[in-house]
Structure formats: structure tokens, C-alpha cells
């Protein structure tokens, strides 16, 4: 009985002690929006289309992101430029529907589409949430700064000839019987 009373008094005192101590400690709460905490690069919010190290559009309009997107909010039209490069003639993300799952970024074989920490991404008009290619395209490489898909691919798009891409041998001579 006495033991129980002592336990109660000790725990009440400990509680008051903690409360009292915090009266003299600096608060940890961050006041948003006055203070904006830097988020890690892997945070998943507003989506961008990045460029390769030479500043060319990375996206090859392969439809993998739109194929994987669980809410079908990406649409695009592939096209071919005069060099033979496949690119997106238009590219649209409906952020009104996006759930920021990041699957598109995982699927992207060129590191073009990336989610960014910019979560302040609210518009009053729902149509303003529909971003076109010019709204998505940025002038940087983002998280995978050195990757240039077309240097690794086998198709010729004006960067290098057949056999000149990374880890390719020169084209074989099919007209010889020499080993």
C-alpha cells in the first residue's frame, strides 16, 4: 500500500519534472512555411524531366513510365527527329491524379523522369495540375548526372556510328569467309 503511494508520487514528479524542464529548452518544432527544411533527394514529390550531361532531352518516349503508372496519369506521344532520335513530341502528367509512388522513376531506363522533393505543388484550378512537357522539362541532370542512354544503345542517332557506342565492336564484315 505504502509502496503504491510512493510509486504514484514518483511518477507524477517525473512528469512534472519533464514538463518543467522543457520550459527552459529551445523548441524542436519547425515553423513551416517560415522555415523550410531541406529534404533528401530521394523524397517523392513534383516530377521533372531531366536532361543528359550534354543538355539533350533524356526522355526517349518509351512509354514505360506511362505503362507502369498505377493511376494512368502519364500520357505522351513518341516521335522521331531528323537524327533518328526517339523523343516525346508531347508529354503530359496529370498531377491531379498522381500519387507520387515513384514507380515511373523506377521504370525509366534513361533516368529522365525523376521525382523531386518539391512537395509544394498545389493549384487552385484542377486544370493547372495538368503539366505539359514544357512545364516538366528542366535544365539539369538530376540524380543520375552521368548517364546518357543513347551512348549505350545500339541505334544510330547522330552521336556515334554503328559499333562506336560504349562496349561495341566495329561492325562485322559479312562478306568474308575468313575466320
Amino acid at each position: 500500500m505504502i509502496r503504491a503511494v510512493i510509486d504514484i508520487i514518483v511518477s507524477i514528479a517525473a512528469g512534472f519534472y519533464t514538463t518543467g524542464r522543457h520550459l527552459f529548452v529551445r523548441p524542436v518544432t519547425e515553423s513551416y512555411p517560415e522555415y523550410k527544411r531541406p529534404l533528401p533527394a530521394r523524397s517523392r514529390a513534383r516530377i521533372i524531366l531531366t536532361r543528359d550531361p550534354e543538355g539533350r532531352e533524356r526522355c526517349v518516349a518509351c512509354y514505360l513510365c506511362s505503362g507502369v503508372c498505377p493511376v494512368n496519369c502519364i500520357s505522351m506521344q513518341a516521335a522521331e527527329d531528323s537524327q533518328g532520335r526517339r523523343y516525346a513530341a508531347w508529354f503530359r502528367i496529370n498531377f491531379g491524379r498522381c500519387i507520387y509512388c515513384g514507380l515511373c522513376e523506377q521504370a525509366c531506363p534513361t533516368s529522365a523522369i525523376q521525382l523531386t522533393p518539391d512537395f509544394e505543388h498545389i493549384r487552385r484550378d484542377i486544370l493547372d495540375m495538368v503539366f505539359e512537357k514544357q512545364d516538366l522539362l528542366v535544365d539539369l541532370c538530376g540524380k543520375d548526372p552521368d548517364y546518357d542512354f543513347y551512348q549505350h544503345a545500339g541505334v544510330v542517332v547522330g552521336l556515334a556510328g554503328k559499333g562506336d557506342h560504349i562496349s561495341e565492336n566495329p561492325p562485322v564484315n559479312t562478306r568474308t569467309n575468313m575466320p
Binding site: 518509351c62 505503362g67 506521344q77 526517339r86 545500339g154 566495329p170 561492325p171 562485322v172
Partner: protein, 785 residues
């Protein structure tokens, strides 16, 4: 019949069945690259390995190379076999380029599927990749040889199955190369099938390059309407636009493949010049307004001058829905027609064919493949009905003898005996060649209806009837000018041709003409007569999805839906009615509706340009009747109103055969075509595979293949006239002057000048019974600059 066990399940298969096929019967899909049911097995890719656990064969073996035998116990999931298959994929990927994201095959690529299935995700090899230089193969097929896995499907299809030899395999060891043996474009009009048959992205579709992934397409079963065979297709559409057409398997018609005209002929459907708005006296209005205006004005003319003052013309490129709606339209209003025949003679030949074909004698293409003797008269399959040539080729591969009776130069991908003769000699030649069929067990007579008359068709039918015996089956196979020529002949009651209406226009009897989906302008034999007649009309209404000259000059133009938007039923040349489903909703494609570089940013349930009617609906509206509301109601309406169409109720996967049920009759009097006068040459306009057909002629990629307009003549004629191959000549006839390149051919009939239809030759009259003769001095050689 051997009995074997595959994955613990027993199956009995016919002698000679490969294990891979036996497994398919059990629903077990063994991976394969080189094996293809149309091409057979070669054992090149090694990915079909399975484990033979018991029986006559032992260990890991290729299931496509081994015949099923009694007592076999096969496991597909055995770790040894699975490991083997996995390694095969990894070897194949050693040299495979890092192309998937930019490869059009991705998404329906067999290599991609099996790589994923085998779990090979990360490249382990540090080695460099082999590369090849690619070739320009022409406007249809794109070549990217790095992606090849050496399965030999392409060369087996191209050389063995379809009989062309310009594509082949070169090189040895690790340098085996698949491509053309010499620079240049692919010569086969079946080359597009390489795209379907190649299990990787070596051959991809050039016109639709980089337009989308298969998983995004609305894929609909279709039927090709670019010739009378009615091959099955799969139509891929996206954003209210057809993107690609591929072959679809059909047991009785085309089997696996289609020709390039069928594959690339669809571009008319969304070309910029296509009529999408109504037109009244040159003013653009909505389609509905145009329909209403046409209805009112036709009614006014009917009230003032009686129903005989209105004529209706249709054509065999329309669906059965449209054709029957037109018959109904004339029934209910008393208007004249509908006329489905451009010329009397062409209609008569098709009509004879329809009457001659019966369930006993009609052969399908499938049956042609198993024929042991083929006699083709006045039919040039490569140009008139291309897939027929492939069926004949299969017959020839199994030993069939093939004889052709035709005035034209024939370029067929198999061996045949060509008896070149002019129209007036055809009957006699046919009679004497018939002897050669008597010994065969499954003979077929193939009869064309474009350059022949009804007499030849009847003669062919009689010949077949004579060949039929207790122990053998003889078949008749007629090619026809257009996709629905058979359907038009079934419904055609008036037996009139466009010239008959022209007569009545000239006499002032007909004051208004409504023309449904017809290219009268290109084929009417006497163009100056046609244009004066049309000018005499009070009202010319044109309903079409093509911007034909007739549509351009009509007082009222009504845009109609294409087969991709409206669907329809088409009856092929053997009487097989096949249903086509709409591939996408009608209306302006998204690409055209969007302003600037992306689709519109406003959203509404209305599709711009959605108010275009199907031609059959327009036909109902012209008489003020409400058309049936749905496609199903329309089909039911057709069944109820036309006795010949009652069998549409039994439509199955392979369609349903409609026969006229009229018996063959010997022609009243054999009309031997008039003889060619001396010092004259016959000018024979002939159909051609690329560019000559009204719809596919709008496809830019096919026009590129059409070459230059040319006139073909026999060597003897050329020598006599002092003309050499590749010269240019000008031909003058009936106030027309055309300049053409000369091609000399041997064999072809002497005394005949063959001019193939060509998009650059504006006027390609259908034969009208009167053959066109031009005197030798109307052929002038033009000196080359």
C-alpha cells in the same frame, strides 16, 4: 498414333507431331524462337529444350526437332532443361543491343518476354558486343540487324514460304547476317510479314515507326477491304487513329499472313484531305446539315418530277450494310437503282461468278494450298488478290502443277506455265488446257473477273463441274474487283450499270444523282460523256470518306465513316461474309484536334467531328427514315429484309458462307470478244498491287512502291514498232494522251498493251465490253532528252 506423357499428363497425337506441338495441345507453351507453325522447325535457337526422362530419347533435347513417340516421358520444368533454356537466353543477350526503350518491338517482343521469363535481368558479361551495319529495305520495313538472334524465321518465310529470293542469309560463324543480298528495296509484296514473323526488333514497321506501344493500342479484329479475299487483320488504333494493321490468323482465309497492300493500305482513313464536314454548294457545313439538305432537295425533285428522276449509285467497296440500305432506299422511294456496277461487263463477270459458286464447288484459300493442279484464267493473283499467290505457292511447294492463261506479263513467286493469249483466244486456250487437269485429284480453276467476261467464268465453272468425280474434288475460285463485289452481286437486282444511268441523265429522265462511296470518275469508261452528263444534273450528292473528284464537284457532299469507324460486313469472293468491328470512335484524331504540340487542354465528352454518319445511316436519312440505332439492330434488319442475307445469323469465327443458290447455266450464246483488227493493239487497263486500288492508293508508302506508270508490251510487238525497253512512248486514244515508260515482257500476249493502274494515271477505265484498240501509229516513241 503415339501416346506420350508431358509434365505428367498423357496425350495422344498424330504420327509426325513434334513434341512442342504435342505440348501445345495440352496447353503447355514451350518457349520457342525459331519454331513457327507456318514455317516448321529448324532447331536453330535451342530455347525449346525439354528433358526427356524416359522412352526412346534421353536427356535434354529440342522439343521442336523430335517427333512424339510412344513411351516418351517429357518434363518441361526439369531443372536441367530450365537451366539450359536460361543459359540460351543469356547467350543470346551477349550481343543484344541496349535498345528496348527505343525499339518498336518492345512490348510485343518474344525475346523480351522470354528474357524476363528466364529471369535474366542484369548483364554479367564484360565483353563487347558484335554489331552489324543495317540496310535500307524500302518504305515499309525498317532494318536494325544488331537485334538478330539468328532464328532464320525471316529467310524461311521470305524464300521458302513466299518464294522471293532477294533477302537471304550471308556470312559465317558469329557473323551471320540477314538482309538483302544486294543493296535495294525488298521486292516481295509480302515483305511486311517479316515484321510479324521476326521474334525480335530486326524488322519493324517503318511508316508507324515510334508511334506507340502495343499495350496502349486498341486492338480490334478487322478484315482487309483492299481486295476481294477479305484477309483477317488486327487493327491497332490509338487516339482515334489507326496506327498499324497486322495479319490475324484465320483457318480458311489468309492463315497467318497478309500482303503489304492490306498492311499499309489504311492511311486513307486519316489523311488531311479526308472529308470530315458536309459541303453544300462549296460551303462547309456540318455533316448533319448536309444530310438534311440532300434529303429535302431529293424530296423536292421527287415531288416535281417523280421518283424516276433520282438515281442512286453505290459501289462494291461499301459494307453490306450500306449496300442493303441502298437497295432498301430505292425500294421505299422508287428511285432508280441502286447501281453497283461501274460497267456492264465487269458486273456481268462478277455476277456470273456469284451464280457459279456453290457449296459444292467453292474452294477457300486453305483448300487451294492443298490442290494438286491449278489452272488460272484471266487472274493475276499478285496484282488482284495478293494473298492468293501465297496460297498457290504453298500448293506448288507440295507439287501442284500451275498453268496460267492470261494476256498480261505475269510475275508470280513460283513456277508456272504461262499460256499467253488475248481475250478472244482465251476460251479456246482454256478448253485445250483443261485436258491437263484430268489426271489430278484435287484440281482448282482460278478465274479472274476483271479482264474476263462472264463467258469465261461460266466456262470455268462448267470445266470444274466436269472435273468433279466420285473420287475427286474440283474447286472453283474466282477473284473479284473489290472487297464486297460478291455482296453487291448478291443484292444487285437491277443488273444496271453506271452507263445506263448516264443514258437516262442524257435523256433528262434522271435529274438528281446520289453517289455512295464510288470512284466513278476514275473508272467510268467514257470520261467526257460522264462529265457532260454530270453537268446536266440538277443535283449531285456524293457520300464518301475519300475526297474523290466526284465528292469535290458534288453540289452536296456528305462525309461518311470509314470501316475503322463504322465496321461492317464484307462478303469475300468465295461468299464468306465476315464481320468487321469498329476499331475506334469516329471523329477528328487527337493529333488533329489538338492545337500546338499537345492534345487539347479542355475536356468534354463530345468528340469533335463526331457527327459523320455511316454511309448506311445516311442512306436511311435521305428518305427521311430513322436508321436502326445499333450495329446489332442493323444486322438484324438486314437478315429480316433480305432473304439472301438470312444466314448472317450463323456468323462464326470463320464468317459464314452466303451463296446465291442459283444454278450454273451455260451462257445463252457464247460471246466471243471481238477480234483485234490488224495494225491495231489492244489497250488493256489492268489492276496492280500498289497504287491502283482506290483506298490504298492514298498511302504514301505504297505510292513510293508503285514505280513509274508504265506500258507493257510483248517483245515481238516492240521489235516491230522499233521500241526498246525503258523507252518512253505516248499513247493517244479517245482524246486522251498519256506518256508512259515501256516495259518489254516475254511471255505476254502479242498485240496487247497492258497499262497497270497507277496513282499518276488519273483515268483507268474499267473495260466496258468494248475493248480499246489503238492503231499502231497512235503509239509515238518520245526521244529522251
Amino acid at each position: 498414333m503415339p501416346k506420350l506423357i508431358i509434365d505428367n499428363r498423357e496425350i495422344e497425337v498424330p504420327e509426325g507431331t513434334k513434341v512442342i506441338k504435342a505440348a501445345e495441345k495440352l496447353g503447355i507453351y514451350i518457349p520457342r524462337f525459331c519454331f513457327h507453325h507456318a514455317l516448321g522447325a529448324v532447331g536453330a535457337c535451342r530455347v525449346c529444350a525439354v528433358k526427356f526422362q524416359e522412352g526412346p530419347v534421353d536427356g535434354v533435347q529440342m522439343s521442336c526437332m523430335i517427333d512424339a513417340q510412344d513411351g516418351m516421358k517429357v518434363s518441361t520444368a526439369d531443372p536441367e532443361a530450365a537451366d539450359f533454356r536460361r543459359s540460351v537466353i543469356e547467350w543470346l543477350m551477349l550481343n543484344h543491343p541496349h535498345d528496348c526503350p527505343v525499339c518498336d518491338e518492345g512490348g510485343h517482343c518474344l525475346l523480351q518476354d522470354l528474357t524476363v521469363a528466364g529471369g535474366h535481368g542484369i548483364r554479367r558479361s564484360k565483353g563487347r558486343k558484335r554489331t552489324y551495319t543495317d540496310q535500307y529495305l524500302g518504305p515499309l520495313v525498317y532494318h536494325e540487324m544488331n537485334r538478330c538472334i539468328q532464328c532464320y524465321r525471316c529467310v524461311r518465310f521470305y524464300r521458302e514460304y513466299s518464294g522471293y529470293s532477294d533477302l537471304g542469309v550471308t556470312g559465317i560463324a558469329g557473323r551471320v547476317y540477314f538482309g538483302r543480298l544486294r543493296e535495294g528495296i525488298l521486292e516481295s509484296p509480302f515483305a511486311g510479314n517479316l515484321i510479324d514473323i521476326c521474334p525480335t526488333g530486326v524488322y519493324t514497321d517503318r511508316p508507324s515507326r515510334y508511334t506507340g506501344r502495343r499495350w496502349d493500342f486498341e486492338r480490334t479484329p478487322g478484315v482487309c477491304i483492299h481486295c476481294s479475299l477479305g484477309c483477317r487483320t488486327t487493327v491497332s488504333a490509338r487516339y482515334r487513329q489507326v496506327v498499324r494493321v497486322e495479319g490475324r490468323f484465320s483457318q480458311q482465309v489468309n492463315r497467318d499472313f497478309i500482303c503489304d497492300r492490306g498492311r499499309y493500305g489504311f492511311y486513307y482513313a486519316d489523311r488531311p484531305g479526308r472529308p470530315r464536314n458536309g459541303r453544300i454548294n462549296g460551303q462547309t457545313v456540318s455533316a448533319q446539315q448536309a444530310v438534311e439538305e440532300a434529303r429535302d432537295r431529293l424530296q423536292r425533285i421527287t415531288q416535281e418530277h417523280g421518283p424516276e428522276a433520282v438515281g442512286i449509285i453505290g459501289s462494291a467497296r461499301s459494307s453490306l450494310q450500306t449496300l442493303s440500305a441502298l437497295v432498301h432506299l430505292c425500294h421505299t422511294t422508287g428511285w432508280q437503282g441502286p447501281v453497283f456496277r461501274n460497267t456492264w461487263i465487269a458486273g456481268a463477270a462478277a455476277d456470273a461468278a456469284v451464280r457459279a459458286l456453290s457449296p459444292e464447288n467453292a474452294f477457300s484459300m486453305r483448300e487451294i494450298e492443298t490442290a494438286d493442279a491449278i489452272l488460272a484464267v484471266g487472274a493475276d493473283p499478285v496484282n488482284e488478290a495478293p494473298m492468293l499467290a501465297l496460297a498457290m505457292r504453298q500448293a506448288q511447294r507440295t507439287g501442284a502443277e500451275i498453268i496460267a492463261i492470261d494476256p498480261r506479263p505475269l510475275d508470280w513467286p513460283f513456277d508456272f506455265a504461262h499460256l499467253a493469249c488475248r481475250a478472244e483466244e482465251m476460251e479456246e486456250t482454256l478448253a485445250s488446257a483443261a485436258e491437263r487437269l484430268s489426271a489430278s485429284r484435287r484440281p482448282v480453276v482460278i478465274c479472274g473477273t476483271e479482264i474476263t467476261d462472264d463467258g469465261i467464268v461460266m466456262q470455268a465453272a462448267d470445266l470444274v463441274a466436269g472435273l468433279r468425280g466420285s473420287d475427286k474434288r474440283a474447286g472453283l475460285f474466282c477473284t473479284m474487283p473489290q472487297a464486297n463485289s460478291f455482296g453487291a452481286a448478291l443484292l444487285d437486282e437491277s443488273n444496271a450499270c453506271a452507263a445506263d444511268l448516264a443514258d437516262r441523265i442524257e435523256t433528262g429522265q434522271i435529274r438528281a444523282l446520289a453517289v455512295f462511296e464510288s470512284d466513278l470518275w476514275h473508272v467510268f469508261p467514257d470520261r467526257s460523256r460522264l462529265s457532260t452528263a454530270l453537268e446536266k444534273l440538277d443535283l449531285l450528292v456524293s457520300v464518301d470518306f475519300l475526297d474523290t473528284p466526284l465528292f469535290e464537284n458534288a453540289d452536296i457532299g456528305i462525309p461518311s465513316l470509314t470501316v475503322f469507324e463504322a465496321g461492317g460486313i464484307y462478303v469475300n469472293q468465295e461468299g464468306r461474309a465476315q464481320q468487321v468491328r469498329p476499331a475506334h470512335t469516329g471523329g477528328l484524331p487527337i493529333a488533329a484536334a489538338g492545337l500546338g504540340d499537345h492534345p487539347p487542354r479542355s475536356f468534354s465528352p463530345d468528340v469533335p467531328g463526331r457527327d459523320m454518319p455511316a454511309a448506311w445511316a445516311a442512306a436511311f436519312s435521305l428518305s427521311g427514315q430513322a436508321p436502326p440505332e445499333t450495329d446489332a439492330q442493323m444486322t438484324a434488319w438486314m437478315r429480316d429484309n433480305f432473304a439472301v442475307l438470312a444466314d448472317l445469323a450463323h456468323m462464326e469465327a470463320d464468317g459464314v458462307r452466303l451463296f446465291a443458290g442459283r444454278k450454273v447455266s451455260i451462257p445463252d450464246e457464247a460471246q466471243i470478244p471481238e477480234k483485234k483488227p490488224d495494225q491495231f493493239l489492244e489497250l488493256l487497263p489492268a489492276p496492280t498491287i500498289f497504287g491502283g486500288e482506290p483506298m490504298s492508293g492514298h498511302s504514301q508508302c505504297l505510292r513510293e512502291l508503285a514505280g513509274l506508270p508504265a506500258v507493257w508490251m510483248a517483245r515481238a510487238d516492240a521489235d516491230r514498232l522499233g521500241i526498246a525497253d525503258d523507252d518512253r512512248v505516248s499513247l493517244g486514244f479517245e482524246n486522251i494522251e498519256v506518256t508512259l515508260n515501256v516495259r518489254i515482257s516475254d511471255p505476254m500476249a502479242q498485240g496487247v498493251l497492258v497499262v497497270y493502274r497507277h496513282p499518276d494515271i488519273d483515268w483507268q477505265p474499267a473495260p466496258d465490253g468494248k475493248r480499246i484498240f489503238i492503231s499502231e501509229d497512235q503509239i509515238r516513241r518520245i526521244e529522251k532528252a
